[in-house]
């Protein structure tokens, strides 16, 4: 199964709309987008455009926070985390492409708290494959998938953005 | 004490470089004496040994070993090390005086003789200290030591920095016609060096011992030999540049002989790569050009003798970073196999190789050994040159500090007879 550029665009359009609505409902006017490198950063950028924001989205590389570091080693292509704003007291929208075990999100939140104490964090993901190992759920999600155990979904980008179903290689 | 041997060794290839002999013959040992070498000998009552396919050699003479007793830096005992010698076909060993207490008095010489006698595996030919306590300041009692049995005098690895003291030592030795053995290494130029001052030392950041540390000493010593007329032997030449000095001296007619360690003929500075402290020796392993020049010098006789440079060390001597390890290789177990290895590689002709571990060292030490001479006490060994073995599997020296433990090498000694006694017998 594949998601074409068009499919992804529709998902993103809807997700942006829902996010706008939710922020409105919660009375949040001032907020910052933070994408998790790499897929999450692409999604955050796509949402930024749709929400008509001029401010650059933040980018998190959670390599230094992974709990499986000793098993898999460091990714030598670590991108420096870039948060072009002060985290303290801000409302953050954390964006990732695929939510699986929840470990990446935990690592990302740990890292965010090393930069400061945000007022709130909402989680937005493109796909939720529901293979939860931690009590972490998205506030918004583009599509919920029920995958067979050996499958995973991978987002390709940054341009065009498309996704495909692949054989599971390793836990990540 | 073993009884005197009574043996008829049949149809072995008898190799005796001193006599230029290389023929298949029978060798008869009667009451410990080598009585005859000839075809189809008969000797009722003698134990028959079938030596077909085996070599009958004079007992090997290792010109330079460090003694494990008394005290000193080396591990093991005279018994353990002479047993390793016997198993390696060696019957006579030149022993250095750097024991503890130093062999600068008759009591120590006596002790070494007695311990060797008691063990009964090989004859040790002690070399007395040239200076008191090897300190390079006062003459040792050379005449007394000679009377006690010392065959030569040396300051071993210890420096004789004061040229005047050295000259007096040589004059004194010459006065009684005692041979002096030099171990040429200029202390100031050596410093704390532990590797040849070349490419590998530079890569590994090891303090270097330059070639001139040796040549400066050889040149000075040769001038003093000329001035005093002493008989001189040079231990452990390591550098090609020293050979030119030795050849010059010979041409000038100086009474000079020299030896090299078997390791310097097989290894070069690269052996230290990866901080391999098993190859940490003094003088250091040098450039391969030096190694090749040393081989040529053995072949042409500039270097008379090949020795093991036997230095058995306990395991703790190696448990340190390379510069702090004690230099030295335990060499008795491998002298003959390594020599055969060199011959097998075509790096040395067999006859010269055997001469360099039999007649030549005996001549340098002024001892009637290292030859198959009818009428004298028999010192010989019986070698099977074919089988290969891993030395580490039946190592006998108490020191296992050798880079050769796991290397398959040719030759097994079946029988060793030292001065009429069987000191080693294997199947």
């Amino acid at each position: 199964m594949n998601w074409t550029e068009d499919d992804i665009r529709q998902l993103l359009d809807r997700l942006a709309e829902e996010l706008r609505q939710q922020l409105h409902d919660r009375g949040i006017r001032d907020y910052e987008l933070v994408g998790i490198y790499a897929g999450g950063a692409w999604v955050a950028e796509a949402l930024r455009e749709r929400l008509g924001r001029t401010r650059e989205a933040g980018m998190l590389d959670i390599s230094f926070y992974r709990d499986d570091f000793s098993r898999h080693g460091l990714n030598p292509r670590v991108k420096p985390t870039r948060l072009p704003f002060d985290v303290d007291g801000r409302h953050l929208v954390l964006v990732d492409d695929v939510l699986m075990s929840g470990r990446t999100i935990r690592a990302a939140m740990n890292e965010l708290f090393d930069y400061g104490r945000p007022e709130s964090i909402q989680l937005v993901v493109l796909f939720d494959v529901g293979r939860r190992e931690l009590p972490i759920r998205p506030d918004l999600c583009g599509e919920i998938l029920a995958l067979e155990p050996h499958k995973r979904v991978e987002l390709h980008g940054p341009s065009p953005l498309w996704a495909e179903l692949m054989e599971q290689t390793r836990q990540g | 004490m073993q009884p005197d041997a009574h043996l008829l060794i049949r149809k072995g290839r008898v190799l005796d470089p001193a006599a230029g002999r290389d023929e298949v013959a029978d060798v008869l040992v009667e009451n410990g004496r080598l009585s005859r070498i000839g075809a189809s000998l008969d000797a009722p009552g003698a134990e028959l040994i079938d030596a077909e396919g085996l070599w009958v050699l004079p007992g090997l003479v290792d010109g330079c070993i460090r003694l494990s007793e008394p005290g000193g830096a080396c591990t093991g005992s005279i018994a353990s090390e002479t047993r390793a010698a016997a198993a390696g076909g060696i019957t006579h060993l030149g022993g250095l005086p750097d024991t503890d207490p130093v062999m600068d008095n008759a009591a120590v010489v006596q002790l070494v003789y007695e311990q060797a006698e008691k063990a009964g595996f090989a004859r040790i030919l002690p070399m007395g200290a040239l200076t008191h306590q090897l300190e390079g300041e006062h003459l040792a009692e050379m005449h007394t030591l000679h009377q006690a049995g010392c065959v030569a005098f040396t300051n071993a690895g210890y420096p004789t920095t004061d040229a005047l003291v050295l000259k007096r030592c040589l004059e004194y030795a010459a006065n009684f016609d005692l041979p002096v053995v030099f171990r040429p290494q200029e202390a100031a130029l050596t410093g704390n060096g532990c590797a040849h001052d070349g490419r590998i030392a530079t890569h590994l950041g090891l303090p270097g011992v330059p070639v001139d540390a040796e040549t400066v000493a050889v040149a000075r010593d040769l001038e003093l030999v000329q001035a005093t007329g002493v008989r001189a032997h040079f231990h452990q030449i390591s550098a090609a540049a020293s050979l030119r000095l030795l050849r010059d001296a010979r041409e000038r007619g100086l009474p000079v002989t020299a030896d090299v360690s078997i390791h310097h003929l097989l290894l070069n500075e690269h052996a230290l790569e990866g901080f391999n402290s098993l190859c940490h020796i003094q003088p250091p392993l040098r450039h391969d050009r030096d190694r090749q020049a040393l081989l040529e010098a053995v072949a042409d006789g500039t270097l008379d003798v090949i020795c093991s440079q036997h230095t058995p060390l306990g395991s703790s001597a190696r448990l340190a970073p390379l510069p702090e390890t004690r230099p030295g290789i335990s060499g008795l177990d491998t002298l003959l196999p390594l020599l055969l290895h060199l011959v097998e590689r075509g790096e040395l002709p067999l006859e010269r190789a055997l001469d360099a571990v039999t007649a030549a060292p005996a001549r340098c030490l002024g001892r009637p050994a290292g030859r198959l001479e009818p009428g004298h006490a028999a010192s010989l060994c019986l070698v099977d040159p074919e089988p290969r073995r891993i030395p580490g599997e039946d190592w006998l020296s108490a020191g296992r500090n050798s880079p050769w433990l796991e290397t398959e090498l040719p030759g097994v000694v079946r029988l060793t007879v030292c001065e009429g006694k069987v000191t080693w017998l294997s199947d």
Partner: protein
Amino acid sequence: MTTEPPSSEVQLTPGGRLRHFLAIENLPRSLLTEILDTAAGFVSVGDRSVKNVPLLRGKTSVNLFFEPSTRTRTTFELAAKRLSADVLNMDIAHSATSKGESLLDMLRNLEAMASDLFVVRHADSGAAHFIARHVTPNVAIINAGDGRHAHPTQAMLDMYTIRHYKGGFEGLTVAIVGDVLHSRVARSQINALLTLGAEEVRVIAPRTLLPADVEALGARVFTELEPGLRDADVVMALRLQRERMQSALLPSEGEFYRLYGLNEDRLRHAHPQAIVMHPGPMNRGVEIDSGLADGERSVILHQVTFGIAVRMAVMSMCVSGQESGEV
């Protein structure tokens, strides 16, 4: 003959990951680049309000300094702490435990305390190799300087600095000035520069401060300063120890400065954009003039900053290499 495995084999897992960091020699370019790339990720960590990342939480790093060096020890300590590791400083520089079996006994004791990383500084060349050969398999050794042999993390922070200012190594001419003979830093720098593809590495020193067969290291040798500096893109000074005067290698500091000391005027012979580096601590007015050390061309203070990130990179790579199960 029994040989020791090449140092690359000691340092890498069969899969080519770092498990000890003992020397630069024989390591592939890809691994050195990986260290620099990983360090780049850590540089930004130093700019945050919370400067720690949890990568080595629960790990213990032991500083084994058999030779005193507060500076180097401090940077390793800071690097370990920024990785959230526990740090143990063993003050052994003056104790008797630096030799033979007692050294191994001490290692056994530290292993029994479940240490994960030993950072070793020792006056003997080969000490870090020796320790790496004798520790249990799950302890990583990082060489913080052994005798005259190697100081690989210093060299890598220098490489980081060069890449930062020059963009890369292709086409670069690097001149190393001073006491090459006694310098573990110079050996590691030369190895690293050549592995990373620098065009030419020069060493500039009087013959008394050059090792035998120095060309074997792959460097071009100059005994005069100005020709050696000509068009160099990077000029690295080495520290001159005062003992060198006592051991008759040099007549005086003054004459050394007159012949080999770096100053603005002499740097005119180098490339106009040349940067000046020094591994510290500097002897101002001996190997380098104060004005130059504090001037525009000097990147010496940045070297210190980058040093922490490079050490964080090496430490985390070694620990993960040890734990990868490939031994």
